[in-house]
């Protein structure tokens, strides 16, 4: 608890104590925090679990404090809660992930009715500035990771460089522009459920592709371009042979593959098959990770098709993106999901 004579002084205290991400925050006054606790529909002392690496208790009140600082609106609390529950799943290896020297950050992809309700962007510039919900929700999770999880750069968060997605890394799938079923349904959820899907990811690597509808090889060219990006020999996926990766297909590129008769699972399977290097190729860059063996062996960058989180987002045009992952940790920093429990929120008296 800090005491300050005004909000300007409070902001300086928060900066000095290392509680911010370096940008100005909304001061978490008692009233503001209570408002978001109420919006959560849970008691303030409900403990979602210990957050690594510091092991702080992720109580609803602490989430609300960080969500206030991030600028969240009450309706966005349900998404923050779901995202924190997701990254606390043991399969996500949060404590190890926060401590690694790799530049990984939790990429949050939201599906379902909550996308429209909270105005989470999935189109043009969805991972860039100018989208309040995306910025606030992602930032809230990051502030939780810092202030509850205890991640501090160079002390406990040992990312050598990091990336801008460590400020905020949240977007929606553009379900309306997708030729396929929503991403979350591919993982067993129904289309009327709101779900957040999270994986630890690098910054997006742009993949340029020019379609030519008169070229029958066009869909295969797109798959090859994506597969090379997945298997890029600078990635942990290629060197450690496994882990998850994400692909944000822009609607135009997704349509090229759908028009070729490919479902989402077809694309995942093809990319998993195609995203390979030979052992010799990997060894020519790095000898520290790859096991000994025949240099002609094909080494997959991704072990299972479902480890390729394939979603539709961004404006329509030339560019899609591949997000390699850290691919390490006890569970290889698995992809995690959590339902956004919008029905648990209280009726908000100020609405």
């Amino acid at each position: 608890m800090f005491n300050a004579v005004n909000e300007a002084e409070a902001l300086e205290l928060l900066h000095q104590s290392g509680c911010t991400d370096g940008l100005p925050v909304v001061i978490p006054t008692r009233d503001r925090v209570d408002r978001l606790v109420l919006a959560s529909g849970l008691d303030s002392d409900v403990d979602l679990g210990a957050m690594g690496p510091g092991g702080g208790a992720a109580t609803v009140e602490k989430l609300a404090i960080n969500a206030v600082m991030a600028g969240c609106l009450p309706d966005q609390m349900a998404v923050v809660l779901a995202a924190v529950r997701a990254i606390l799943q043991p399969a996500f290896d949060l404590g190890e992930m926060q401590s690694t020297t790799h530049s990984t950050a939790p990429l949050m992809i939201v599906n379902g009715p909550v996308v429209g309700h909270c105005d989470i962007a999935g189109g043009f510039g969805a991972l860039g500035p100018g989208h309040r919900a995306n910025a606030s929700i992602g930032r809230a999770v990051r502030l939780c990771m810092m202030n509850i999880g205890g991640a501090r750069p160079g002390v406990s968060d040992m990312a050598l460089l990091g990336h801008p997605g460590k400020f905020s890394f949240c977007l929606a799938e553009d379900e309306m522009s997708s030729p396929w079923e929503p991403l979350a349904t591919a993982y067993g959820y129904s289309s009327d459920e709101s779900v957040v899907t999270i994986l630890g990811a690098e910054a997006p690597h742009s993949v340029v592709f020019t379609n030519d509808a008169d070229d029958k090889d066009s869909p295969q060219r797109l798959l090859r371009a994506l597969a090379v990006a997945i298997a890029n020999t600078g990635s942990n996926n290629a060197n450690l042979s496994g882990g998850a990766t994400a692909i944000a297909l822009n609607p135009e590129h997704a349509q090229v593959l759908a028009d070729a008769g490919m479902s989402r699972s077809d694309v995942q399977a093809e990319l998993q098959r195609m995203a390979v290097n030979t052992r010799g190729q990997i060894r020519s860059f790095n000898t520290g990770f790859i096991a000994a063996g025949d240099d002609n062996d094909l080494i997959p960058a991704v072990r299972r098709p479902t480890d390729i989180v394939l979603f539709v987002a961004g404006g329509a045009g030339l560019y899609s993106a591949v997000f390699p992952s850290w691919a390490a940790g006890t569970h290889r920093n698995s992809v995690v999901h959590e339902i956004v429990a919008t029905d648990a929120t209280c009726e908000l008296p100020w609405k």
Binding site: T210, N211, D212, A213, E252, A316, G317
Partner: protein
Amino acid sequence: MRDGIEVARRGIAAVALVTEQFWLQGDSVATSAGMPDIPRLRLPHPVAGSGHDAMERVAQGIAARIVAVLSGSAAPDNELTSAV
């Protein structure tokens, strides 16, 4: 858009062709380039890469309107949009 504006500034009738996905950007560029009322017509998206036949259909479908807007006998889409 900027090409259309440059042509119009030379006193030559011009119409900018803008695909659906970039319609809002077209408004923004027209305004920032100082000619917010530059006539523009809306095309489907994508045009590039859609194949010879599809591009020919787009061209066939829009050619008469381009001529009509250039000759002043029809309103461009941005005037129709702003009238809504």
